[in-house]
């Protein structure tokens, strides 16, 4: 059964369409990554899924319930790590977890939650003295307190050093292995590729690409590149290639097979393929590809070129001088 179901969900602020008719499902026990650039609509989607905002249209079901209307029932089985939320700066990390346990039925022991988030050494440190990454970890500790069935992580590792990041990845993987459903947003493509089994890429409030991670990547082309031997020209190659200067690039769904074909062709002729590089598709390529398509569509429709200055949400008014 799907732990999270999203059907034709839309949300706008003022005149700005933050989320535009998106649908997806997250199977129980899987990790789902929501990707996109700043302003793509990830955080708004997260706010709708966690019941902080009411959708304009469409529906959200988390564990079969409407997170906005049945908020307190949904909260019992859900852990949320929000991107922007404050702490009480004068409480220590340990005290914060202790107080949150009062809010959470059947909570994990405080020490266990701190341990999971890697904060045991900081238990007696005041929150105002924690670094940005440590605050994110405290956030995670709070989200994990109730042993949730569904975990929402909004940019969970922002501001962390690589080691802390890998530790968090391990925690997330262990949780998923234990049956927890995880939905995360991230800027880090590597993070999504490491953790998620499914993904959706958002742009301008819409899902432009989504599905199973492996399949999505497999469907994108990999590439083989090499220096074209001086005696040859592109037309001789056994596979269609583009040549820039002396660099030949062959696009192929299975770049390993393509490389074998090319190497076979070269050895028959006693040639060497210098600088041979085989690259399977990565999220990075996918992003670049999407960006390129985007640029092209922009040159066709310059009226839409304003998206670069948008943010996930309209800026909050106020905040002295902010």
């Amino acid at each position: 059964m799907a732990a999270i179901q999203v059907n034709h969900l839309s949300k706008s602020y003022g005149g700005f369409q933050a989320v535009n008719d998106i649908s997806f499902e997250v199977e129980a026990g899987t990790v789902f990554a929501l990707l996109g650039r700043n302003g793509a609509g990830k955080t708004t989607t997260m706010e709708l899924l966690t019941g902080f905002q009411k959708p304009d249209a469409g529906s959200v079901r988390v564990l079969g319930l409407d997170p906005f209307k049945d908020r307190s029932r949904v909260r019992g089985n859900v852990g949320i790590m929000v991107q922007e939320a404050g702490f009480f700066p004068d409480l220590t990390a340990g005290q914060t977890v202790g107080i949150w346990r009062d809010f959470t039925p059947a909570a994990r022991p405080a020490s266990e939650a701190l341990e999971l988030a890697g904060l045991t050494a900081k238990a007696k440190t005041k929150v105002r003295q924690l670094s940005g990454g440590e605050k994110r970890r405290l956030d995670l500790a709070l989200a994990l307190l109730g042993e949730p069935d569904v975990l929402f992580l909004d940019e969970p590792t922002t501001g962390m050093d690589p080691e802390a990041r890998r530790n968090i990845w391990k925690v997330v993987r262990d949780l998923a292995a234990g049956g927890t459903t995880v939905l995360l947003t991230t800027h880090y493509l590597e993070e999504a590729q490491q953790l998620a089994t499914n993904l959706a890429i958002m742009d301008r409030g819409e899902i432009v690409l989504g599905g199973d991670m492996a399949e999505t990547l497999a469907a994108r082309v990999g590439q083989v590149s090499f220096e074209l031997p001086s005696v040859s020209h592109a037309g001789e190659l056994p596979l269609p290639a583009t040549v820039r200067g002396r660099l030949a690039v062959v696009k192929a769904a299975d770049p390993d097979l393509a490389a074998q074909t090319l190497l076979g062709w070269a050895s028959e002729r006693g040639l060497r393929l210098r600088g041979l590089e085989v690259r399977t598709a990565s999220l990075e390529d996918l992003f670049l590809e999407l960006a390129r398509n985007d640029e092209m569509s922009q040159t066709n429709a310059p009226a839409r070129s304003d998206h670069g200055t948008r943010s996930d949400r309209p800026a909050r008014s106020g905040g002295a001088g902010a």
């Binding site: 105002r128 003295q129 106020g318 905040g319 002295a320 001088g321 902010a322």
Partner: protein, 250 residues
Amino acid sequence: MREVLAVARLGGRLFWGDGRAVGGIAALGVCLGAGLPLLIAASLRSRDVDVVLGMHLGMLAMVLTIVATTQTAVTLSTRREMLVLKRLRASGLRGRAIIGGELVNIVTQATLLSAVVSVILYTFTYLPPPELPLLFAACVVAVAGVLALIGVVFSIVTRRPDLNAPATIPFILATTVGAGGYGPFVTGLLPGWVRWTLDLLPTGAMVEIARLAYRGGELTTLTGPVLNLTVWALLGLVAVRLLFRWDPRR
């Protein structure tokens, strides 16, 4: 000086761009500063310029304390907490430009508000405009400046932004009582030493100077109040110089 004005402009834009804040402060200032003297003037059976002037100056002291001291304290510590002060410093601005700009901005607000309140009273009551309007204006500007400087000190002493406003309440009460904002009877009830102490507040000096400005008289009698304001200003500057912090407490 250019930097000071740049910061003042930033603060001004933030303040005036926020319609709700302007409305709130303006409504508060006008209600407190003009409302009470207006009502009292309306209900007195016989004309009594003294009582109305006393109320006017007492309430002006209260409004100036809220708008200058409280606002400065809260604004600066909020900006400190949100790391805005740090960011301004990182942009290469000098400390005195940042604080000075804020003061200029606050003093402008306070002066404008005082002008509105006073004009309302001249229009709708029999309170005559001051004999020496320039002296009155200078007095308002100077007192607002000193009160704002005290606000900077408050932002140092009470570190958290949410504490600043409540922390200034005793100060507001003291300046108001001292300046006669609670009516002539209460001031009359206070023991001598309390009255003497309250007169040492900058608002005590303000009442003296403003009374002279309204009625006219020898400017030489103002040595005391001017000295008073100077001492407060110096104390404030020294405290700010020695104690001001740019980073939030860790």
